[in-house]
C-alpha cells in the first residue's frame, strides 16, 4: 500500500451519526441550550478587555515589535552583513551592503529596514547567525510620514546585547580579524606548520 492510499483509507467517510434515542436528542438540545445560557450569562459579566492607550501592560521580552541591531559583549557591532535576514524576510524589507573594515571584519556599510513593510514576523531574528538583529517589545513606533518608517543603521543600532548577552561571532568564526589571528579563536588549534614533515 503506498502512503497516499494509506492516507485516503484513514479519511474514509465516517458513517453519519444518527440520533438513535430520545435521550440523545435531549442531550443535543441540552448542549445547545447550555451554549445559549453561557453566552447569555456573559452579557452580565464585566468585559475582560484591557483598554489600550489608558492601560499599557509590560510586554514579554520576546514580543515582536521594533527591530534593533545589537552589539556583542565587547561593544562591537554584531551584524556581519551576511544577508540572511534579508533573505529570510518574507516582505523583503531589509537591505544592506556588506563591506570589510580595516580590521578585516565584515560589517554592514549601510543597513536599512523599511518598517512600513515589516510584518514583525521575527523570521529575521530567527535567521540571524550572530544574534545581531532582534525584535523588541517596543511596538509604538508608527509615524504618519511614511519615509520616517525607513530606518537606517544609525536608527537601528543600540548599545546593548539585547536578549543574547553572551554570543560573540568573531570569537568563534576562525576568521582573521584585527584582534584575533588564526588559531586564537575558541576551540582552535594553532595553525598547521605546512613546512614541517611531522604528522
Amino acid at each position: 500500500m503506498n502512503p497516499d492510499e494509506r492516507h485516503y483509507r484513514k479519511l474514509k467517510p465516517v458513517p453519519p451519526q444518527r440520533f438513535r434515542t430520545i435521550s440523545e436528542i435531549g442531550e443535543a438540545l441540552n448542549a445547545l441550550g447550555q451554549g445559549f445560557v453561557t453566552t447569555f450569562r456573559h452579557l452580565f459579566r464585566k468585559p475582560i478587555t484591557e483598554e489600550y492607550p489608558e492601560y499599557k501592560r509590560t510586554l514579554p521580552e520576546r514580543s515582536r515589535a521594533r527591530i534593533v541591531l545589537t552589539r556583542d559583549p565587547d561593544g562591537n557591532e554584531r551584524c556581519v552583513a551576511c544577508y540572511l535576514c534579508s533573505a529570510a524576510c518574507p516582505v523583503s524589507c531589509i537591505s544592506m551592503q556588506s563591506a570589510e573594515d580595516d580590521n578585516g571584519r565584515r560589517y554592514a556599510r549601510w543597513f536599512r529596514i523599511n518598517f512600513g513593510r515589516c510584518i514583525y514576523c521575527g523570521l529575521c531574528e530567527e535567521a540571524c547567525p550572530t544574534s545581531a538583529i532582534q525584535l523588541t517589545p517596543q511596538f509604538e513606533h508608527v509615524k504618519r510620514e511614511i519615509l520616517s518608517m525607513v530606518y537606517e543603521k544609525e536608527d537601528l543600532l543600540v548599545d546593548h546585547s539585547g536578549k543574547d548577552k553572551t554570543y560573540n561571532f568573531y570569537r568563534w568564526a576562525g576568521i582573521r580579524t584585527g584582534d584575533r589571528d588564526k588559531g586564537e579563536h575558541e576551540r582552535e588549534d594553532k595553525p598547521v606548520n605546512v613546512r614541517s614533515n611531522m604528522p
Partner: protein
C-alpha cells in the same frame, strides 16, 4: 552498453561510465565533492557513497570510482549509504570553521548544501579545530584555507587540467594544505576557475568580495565578448553594477571553464568614467536631442556634399544587431558602403576565413580537444583566444602532438613543438606540410581540383619539420588551427586547403580559425561588400567623405596610424560616435550618444566557428548605485527614472538618428525557433568547397627570406590589449608591459641587450620601447603587444615590413619614455 538499475530505474550507458554519471543521466544527483565531470574521479571525499545491491562488488561503494556493469543494481537511498554520507559530512565539518555568515561562498556552496540537506545541524565533536594560515594569491582570488575539505579539485584542475605548476598540495592527514610554495599572484591565466571549482569557500572572487549573496544578484546567462571564442558565462549584477562573471557550462564551446580575461574583464561596464549622457559639441544633453542634432547635421552634410559623403563604421566588438543596423542605415540613406574594419588586412583575412569555413571542416572548441594531432599556424592561442590554449592542452593530455608555427614567443601550458618562423614564411611552410604530409598518392584519387592543386604545389624551399610530418602521417583526427590576426589571406586559405585535403584522404580532419573581436565572424557576414576604414581614408583626406558615424568603434584609439587618423578626423565636418566606452573617438565626437553593454541589452554574437549565440541582458543598467552618491545607498525615495538609464542599444539609437527610415529593423536577427538556448546554432554559410584549392595559392610568393627586411607585428596578449578587458583594474598587474620582443640574433646585430631601448622608425612615426630578448621566436621579426602604453599606433599598420636600418638603439631619455601620445583617460 551495460544496462544497470539505479533506484529501481533501468538505464543503459556506455562501457566505462561511472555509476555517478549513470545516475546523473537518470536525473539522480548523487552528492559529490571531489568528482567533477571535467576532472574525473579520485575518490577523495567519500560523499558519493551508494549501496551496490547486486554486482561483483556489493555493499557501500564510491559511485564516482565504480564503473558500471551489466545487471548492476544500485540503491542511492539505502539506509547504509545514507548513513555513510551523513558521517562523511559530519567528519568534513569537524574542522570546518564556523564562518558561513562571512563567507562569500555561502548561498552557492556545495558543502553548505550537503550539510543542510544531510541534516547535520549540531556539532557533536568537542575537540579543537585545526587551522591554516592563508596566502596572498593576488588581487583576484581570496584564500581561506580553514574551509578546505581536501577534495583535491583545485590541484587537479590547476596542475593536470590547466597545466600550471605554482599551486600545489603539501602535508598529510589532517594537515593537507593547498596553496603556493610562497605567497604571490597565481600565474595561471585560468586561475579564476578555482573559484567555481572549489566546492567550499577556500577560493573566492576577491574583486566581488563581500558584494552580496548570489541570491541577491540579478543573474543571467551571457556570452563572453573578450575574444572570438564566445565562451558561455553567467553574469551577476546588483544595484545596477555588474559584480561577477562566472563560467557557464557550454557543451560545444568552453565546457566548464573560462579564462581570467573573460571572468574579470567586465569592469568597463561599471566604470565611473563610462559616458552615460549624450553630448552635442561637448555639451551634455538628452539622447532625444542629440539624436535630433545628429540627424539634422547628417542631413545637412548629405544635402550639401551628397549622401555618399557620409560613412558609417562598426566594429568587430559590436553585436550582430548593431552591425546590421550599420549596414541598414547606410543602405537606407544611400551613404558610402558600411565599414566594419579599421584595416584592410583584417577585413580580407576574416572574410577569407569565413568564406572557407564550411560545415564539413569546422571544429568546435570541444572537438578540438578530441584531435589527435594539432597544427597551429600563425596564432598565439593564449594571447588571442585563451581558452583555445586550454583546449590544446586537453588534446595534448590525450596524446595529440601540438605544433605551433608562429613568429611570436608563444607560450602554452603544455609541451609542444614551436617552429618560430617569420610570418612571411608561413604560407610556404604550410605548403611544404601539405606536400609532405598530404600524401599525393591518396590525394590523386580524390577529385580533380584537389589533384591539380597538389600537382601544382611548388617545391618548398624549406623542408617541413620531420616530427610534424611523422605525426601527421599516422593521425586520424588532425586539426588545423589558424590565426587571422598576424597572418595573411594566403596562409588562411592554405590552412583550409590543408584541412580539406586531409579530409579528402578520409581522415576526420578539422579546421579552427581564431578571429579578431568577439564578432569578427558577424562583421564579415554583415557586410560582404564592406570596405575598411583604411581603404576609405584617402576619401576622407581628399575631402570627399565629410561625416563619419562610428558605432562602438574607436578609430582614433585603435587605428594603427595615430597621426594619420587624427588628421583625417580633423578634416571631417561631423563625427558622430555611439559607444559605451569613453574612447578617444568618443572624446573627439561632435555628437556623442551613449549606448549599452552586452550585460544590459544583450545581442547576438557569432563566434569564430560561426556559432550564433544570443545574449539577453542581465540587468537594466544605469549608473551603479555605488556611484550615485549618498554613501552607496539606494535612494530613500522612489525614483521614476534610472540615473544614466537613457542609453539604448547602439542599433536602436542608430535607427533613431537615421534621416531615412531604416526598414525591417526588428527582422535583422532571426534565429530558427529550435535554436539551442545554451549552445546557439551554427550560421548556415554558402558551400565553401568552390573556394578551396585555388590554384593561385600553390605558387611561392617570393617575399620570404629577404634578409634586408624586418617584419613588425603588433599582437594581442592575454591581458592588456583587448579593448574591453584592458580596462579592468584587476588584470592590469598581469598585462604585458610595453616592450618589443626580439630574437637574440637580431638583437646582436644592432647590438642590443635585454632591457635596452630600441627606437623604431615606422610608417606612422617613431616609437621607443624596451627590448626583451627571447630565444623562442622568429628571426627577422619584431613583436610588439598592442598595449595602450606601447605607442604601437605609430607603426602605421599592425603588420608591416621595415628596412633593417629603421631600428636603432635609443638612449634612455625622460621624454622618450614609451608613452602614448593620446590624451590621458
Amino acid at each position: 552498453m551495460p544496462t544497470l538499475t539505479i533506484d529501481n530505474r533501468r538505464i543503459e550507458v556506455p562501457e566505462g561510465t561511472k555509476v555517478i554519471e549513470a545516475a546523473e543521466a537518470l536525473g539522480i544527483m548523487i552528492p559529490r565533492f571531489c568528482y567533477h565531470r571535467a576532472l574525473g574521479s579520485v575518490g577523495a571525499c567519500r560523499v558519493c557513497a551508494v549501496k551496490i545491491v547486486d554486482g561483483t562488488r556489493k555493499g557501500v561503494q564510491m559511485s564516482c570510482m565504480l564503473d558500471v556493469e551489466e545487471g548492476m543494481v544500485v540503491s542511492t537511498d539505502d539506509p547504509e549509504a545514507v548513513a555513510m554520507r551523513r558521517h562523511v559530512i559530519e567528519w568534513l565539518m569537524l574542522h570546518h570553521p564556523h564562518d558561513c555568515p562571512v563567507c562569500d561562498e555561502g548561498g552557492h556552496c556545495l558543502l553548505q548544501d550537503m550539510t543542510v540537506s544531510g541534516g547535520h545541524g549540531l556539532r557533536r565533536y568537542l575537540g579543537n579545530k585545526r587551522t591554516h594560515l592563508d596566502q596572498y594569491l593576488g588581487p583576484r582570488i581570496q584564500h581561506e584555507m580553514n574551509r578546505c575539505i581536501q577534495c583535491y579539485r583545485c590541484v587537479r584542475y590547476y596542475r593536470e587540467f590547466s597545466g600550471y605548476r605554482d599551486l600545489g598540495v603539501t602535508g598529510i592527514g589532517n594537515r593537507v594544505y593547498f596553496g603556493r610554495e610562497r605567497e604571490g599572484t597565481l600565474e595561471n591565466p585560468f586561475s579564476g576557475n578555482l573559484i567555481d571549482i572549489c566546492p567550499t569557500g577556500v577560493f573566492t572572487d576577491k574583486p566581488a568580495r563581500y558584494f552580496g549573496r548570489r541570491w541577491d544578484l540579478q543573474r543571467g546567462p551571457s556570452v563572453c565578448i573578450h575574444c572570438s571564442l564566445g565562451c558561455s558565462v553567467t553574469v551577476g549584477a546588483r544595484y545596477r553594477e555588474v559584480a561577477r562573471v562566472e563560467a557557464r557550462y557550454a557543451k560545444a564551446v568552453n565546457g566548464h571553464f573560462i579564462c581570467d580575461r573573460g571572468r574579470w574583464g567586465f569592469p568597463y561596464t561599471n566604470e565611473a568614467s563610462r559616458p552615460r549622457a549624450a553630448r552635442v559639441d561637448g555639451e551634455a544633453t538628452t539622447v532625444g536631442e542629440a539624436c535630433a542634432a545628429a540627424r539634422n547635421r547628417l542631413l545637412h552634410v548629405a544635402e550639401t556634399a551628397g549622401s555618399e559623403a557620409v560613412a558609417c563604421l562598426g566594429s568587430e566588438r559590436a553585436g550582430l544587431e548593431t552591425l546590421k543596423a550599420v549596414a541598414g542605415i547606410c543602405r537606407a540613406n544611400g551613404w558610402a558602403d558600411p565599414l566594419f574594419w579599421l584595416e584592410r588586412r583584417a577585413r580580407e583575412n576574416v572574410a577569407a576565413a569565413v568564406s572557407l569555413l564550411g560545415d564539413d571542416l569546422v571544429l568546435s572548441l570541444r572537438e578540438l580537444e578530441a584531435a589527435d594531432c594539432v597544427l597551429v599556424f600563425g596564432a598565439d592561442p593564449l594571447g588571442e583566444a585563451p581558452m583555445a590554449a586550454l583546449a590544446l592542452r586537453q588534446a595534448r593530455r590525450q596524446g595529440a602532438p601540438v605544433f605551433v608555427f608562429d613568429p611570436r614567443p608563444v607560450e602554452l601550458p603544455l609541451d609542444f613543438h614551436h617552429v618560430p618562423l617569420a610570418i612571411e614564411d608561413l604560407p610556404e611552410c604550410i605548403r611544404s606540410l601539405v606536400g609532405a604530409a598530404g600524401d599525393r598518392e591518396t590525394a590523386r584519387g580524390a577529385d580533380p581540383t584537389v589533384r591539380s592543386f597538389t600537382d601544382q604545389l611548388a617545391e618548398p624551399s624549406v623542408p617541413p619539420p620531420p616530427e610534424a610530418v611523422a605525426a601527421l602521417r599516422t593521425s586520424r583526427r588532425p586539426a588545423v588551427v589558424c590565426g587571422t590576426d598576424v597572418t595573411d589571406a594566403a596562409a588562411i586559405g592554405l590552412a583550409a586547403d590543408f584541412a580539406a585535403l586531409m579530409k579528402a584522404q578520409g581522415r576526420r580532419a578539422g579546421l579552427f580559425y581564431l578571429m579578431p573581436g568577439a564578432n569578427g565572424f558577424g562583421a564579415a557576414l554583415a557586410g560582404t561588400e564592406a570596405a575598411s576604414l583604411e581603404e576609405l581614408l584617402p576619401r576622407i583626406e581628399g575631402g570627399e567623405i565629410r561625416a563619419l558615424v562610428a558605432v562602438e568603434a574607436d578609430p582614433l584609439g585603435l587605428y594603427p596610424d595615430r597621426g594619420r587618423i587624427e588628421a583625417a578626423m580633423r578634416k571631417l565636418d561631423l563625427l558622430v560616435v555611439l559607444d559605451y566606452l569613453d574612447t578617444d573617438s568618443a572624446a573627439a565626437a561632435d555628437v556623442f550618444l551613449p549606448s549599452t553593454t552586452v550585460f544590459e541589452t544583450g545581442g547576438t554574437w557569432i563566434n569564430q566557428e560561426g556559432r550564433i549565440q544570443i545574449v539577453r541582458g542581465a540587468h537594466r543598467g544605469g549608473i551603479p548605485v555605488s556611484q550615485t552618491g549618498g554613501g552607496g545607498h539606494p535612494p530613500r525615495v522612489f525614483m521614476e527614472e534610472v540615473p544614466g538609464g537613457q542609453a539604448a542599444a547602439s542599433g536602436q539609437t542608430l535607427t533613431r538618428l537615421s534621416p531615412a527610415e531604416v526598414k525591417g529593423a526588428s527582422e535583422w536577427v532571426r534565429l530558427p525557433p529550435d535554436t539551442d538556448k545554451q549552445s546557439g546554432t551554427r550560421a548556415v554559410l554558402p558551400d565553401p568547397s568552390a573556394l578551396r584549392f585555388a590554384p593561385e595559392r600553390t605558387a611561392l610568393s617570393g617575399a620570404a627570406g629577404d634578409e634586408a627586411m624586418l617584419t613588425v607585428i603588433a599582437v594581442d596578449r592575454t591581458f592588456g590589449t583587448e579593448v574591453l578587458s584592458s580596462r579592468s583594474p584587476w588584470l592590469s598587474a598581469e598585462e604585458t608591459a610595453p616592450t618589443v620582443w626580439m630574437h637574440p640574433e637580431e638583437a646582436g646585430r644592432v647590438p642590443l641587450s635585454d632591457g635596452d631601448l630600441l627606437e623604431i622608425d615606422a610608417g606612422g612615426g617613431s616609437l621607443v620601447l624596451p627590448v626583451k630578448i627571447v630565444e623562442n621566436m622568429a628571426r627577422r621579426t619584431l613583436v610588439i603587444p598592442r598595449h595602450r602604453d606601447a605607442a604601437w599606433q605609430r607603426l602605421g599598420a599592425t603588420r608591416l615590413r621595415i628596412e633593417r636600418d629603421c631600428i636603432r638603439k635609443a638612449q634612455p631619455v625622460g621624454e622618450n619614455a614609451p608613452v602614448k601620445e593620446s590624451p590621458p583617460r
